[in-house]
Amino acid sequence: MTEPAELDRILAAHAGREGALLPILHDVQAVFGHVSEDTERAIAHALNLSRAEVHGVVSFYHDFRTRPEPRPVVKLCRAESCQARGVEALAARLPADGPVKVETVYCLGLCSVGPNVMVGDTLHARLTPEKLGALVGGLV
């Protein structure tokens, strides 16, 4: 469910902006946690696009969700530099479908001090199994 007033506020804030769709989607996801079908319709109407065009953009980018994610999200970097520093052994210890949602990202740009995770906007480097376990445990 979206709050129409809040959505209107976001759409009004971006009115007339060049290439406004991504900034709008970022704001929508920050406020509502996901981009629902109803929201896609409202955005399409505001930008004079078809809903298919909006959905095409939402589904293209890894960041946007079409359903809410109630669990805390941990973004674990599993790119080459973190692989070289042992992230796969860490990843194998995390439950795939536990109380914390573990998402894979390809690179947090801390490639000399991995393995790394991002929780919200907070970064954690030099992870060990103990450190990651404590971090994940603290989110539940």
């Binding site: 991504l22 080459e80 390809y106 740009g109 001090v113 790394n116």
Partner: protein, 518 residues
């Protein structure tokens, strides 16, 4: 120790330092009565969080170390930072201010030579500005290595208006972080570089497209773009945020994303320089390209071109990462050898084991064995060795790595990040994962039900052996390399084929694959 209150402690607030716990260390020094200044990072990442007091460095620190540092009894001192071999052996042009200035302090920026490039550009005019960049030999630092001044000239001469400056800050390659360090450590330098480019080509609006995985860089660039307005007017810079698509680092995909579309690659021509953002003439340059410009214009293109090697002029901020002892940012003139970077500067592996492979240039770069350590770091030498320097990231692996797994990952990554526009990349990557899985299982396979149909004339009817599968993988890589629209599908064969040809023992070491390596 007396006069603790007068002690100024400088600690980085860049994302890497924060991830290593710099905030807690800073709080410990503040609690002890010190004045803490948050500065950019020196780039010595194994020492973060690093504290600097009167030029002396201490790291890597825990909060509990603050007391010993202040009492003069800490064993984590590294002596004068500027004299540390890792710093003293560099030639820092782009990173000249690293570790020395507060990132968002206009006062610090001006005191360390900031805005002098823009002032000179305004004084000498657009044509002479482009001429300086031409003289410098500056080539695009995003990976393609295209001469920046030629791109600028094309945009400057284009008749259409308005024109745009787009900074590609979608630094998605693993093993790279120089763009992030520029944006978090010296954001005004990037804005100054964009303003100089705008002045040179006649653009009024600039966008910085930053990946969403870099929240700290986004925050600093937004603040810096706002604070710099009076200095760069009438030019304006706006920060836009990506949404987790690796392919948006490709320039035409990035332009589509900025326009609010799916980040699908565009066919070229038309060149973005003529029909770029919203169909208008657009300079698309990487962060490091634009960040090099203020120094070049302020000091003259000739001074920049004095450094370097062959056709690769100037310096390159090289990023040493992965399983390496002394990882970090190492800016030096082109021409240093790969072996020096890995063994001497990087100190070998962090695990203490033997170096087995170094991936140069990110996920689309080749894996090099130590036999390549003699290669000088420049565009042409790496191209001649079937590799590329890309964005100059080095990812070091020790001898526990399975290169067939790395080859599989390259294909898997391409499949996950393909924009879907062209067939070799979209389908080839998935077929690549499958064929590498069969090679890893050391299996051939029989013709499948479709291949066995009599009306399928061009498919093989007999069983495939392991060496047939390897030949198939090489054939697939050729198709992707020459048939893909952009570097994602086109360069994925670099890590795959280099792993296959340089490390054939990890792929079953059938004799004809080893011969193919020669």
């Amino acid at each position: 120790m007396t006069n603790v209150g007068m002690t100024v402690v400088r600690i980085s607030d860049d994302a890497l330092a924060l991830a290593c716990g710099a905030d807690a260390v800073a709080a410990a020094f503040e609690a002890a009565g010190c004045t803490v200044e948050r500065v950019s990072s020196w780039g010595m990442h194994w020492l973060e969080p690093l504290a600097e007091i009167d030029g002396q460095g201490f790291g890597p620190l825990e909060p509990a170390d603050a007391a010993a540092v202040l009492a003069g009894s800490s064993d984590k001192g590294i002596g004068p930072i500027a004299d540390h071999p890792f710093i003293a052996s560099q030639q820092r042009f782009t990173f000249a201010r690293a570790g020395k200035t507060r990132p968002l302090s206009l006062e610090d920026y001006e005191a360390h030579g900031g805005w002098s490039g823009l002032a000179k550009a305004r004084q000498i005019g657009p044509e002479a500005t482009i001429a300086e960049v031409m003289t410098s030999g500056l080539r695009g630092r995003g990976g393609a290595g295209f001469p920046a001044a030629i791109k600028w000239t094309t945009v400057a001469k284009a008749a259409a208006a308005p024109k745009y400056i787009v900074c590609n800050a979608d630094e998605g390659d693993s093993g790279t972080f120089a763009d992030r360090m520029v944006m978090e450590g010296d954001p005004f330098m990037l804005i100054e570089g964009m303003a100089i480019a705008a002045h040179a080509v006649g653009a009024a609006k600039g966008y910085v497209y930053i990946r969403s995985e870099y929240p700290h860089a986004i925050a600093k660039m937004q603040a810096a773009a706002q604070a710099a307005r009076p200095y760069i007017a009438p030019f304006e810079v706006e920060v836009r945020v990506g949404a987790g698509a690796y392919v948006c680092g490709e320039e035409t995909s990035l332009l589509n994303s900025l326009e609010g579309k799916r980040g699908e690659v565009r066919a070229k021509p038309p060149l973005p320089a003529l029909e770029g953002l919203f169909g208008k003439p657009t300079v698309v340059n990487n962060v490091l390209t634009l960040a090099a410009v203020p120094w070049i214009v302020a000091n003259g293109g000739a001074a920049y071109a004095d450094v370097g090697f062959g056709r690769s002029k100037g310096t390159m901020p090289i990023q040493i990462a992965g399983n390496v002892k002394y990882g970090g940012l190492y800016e030096v003139g082109f021409g240093i050898t790969l072996g020096e970077l890995v063994e001497v500067v990087g100190g070998g592996t962090a695990s203490g084991r033997r170096v087995r492979a170094v991936q140069v240039g990110g996920p689309l770069g080749a894996y090099h064995p130590p036999a390549d350590f003699h290669l000088p770091f420049d565009y042409e030498s790496f191209a001649a060795a079937d590799g590329l320097i890309g964005h100059a990231g080095l990812t070091v692996f020790d001898d526990s790595v399975d290169m067939s797994a790395q080859a599989r990952f390259a294909m898997q990554f391409c499949a996950a990040e393909s924009c879907g526009k062209c067939t070799p990349c979209r389908l080839g990557s998935t077929r690549g994962v499958e064929v590498i899985d069969r090679i890893r299982a050391r299996q051939g396979r029989a013709a499948d039900a479709v291949e066995a149909l009599p009306q399928i004339h061009n498919a093989r009817k007999g069983a495939r052996t392991l060496s047939d599968e390897i030949a198939l993988l090489e054939d697939l890589c050729e198709t992707m390399k020459f048939g893909s629209l952009c570097a994602l599908g086109g360069f994925t064969p670099y890590p795959v084929l280099s792993a296959l040809r340089r490390f054939p023992e990890d792929f079953g070491a059938v004799p004809d694959a080893a011969e193919a390596a020669e």
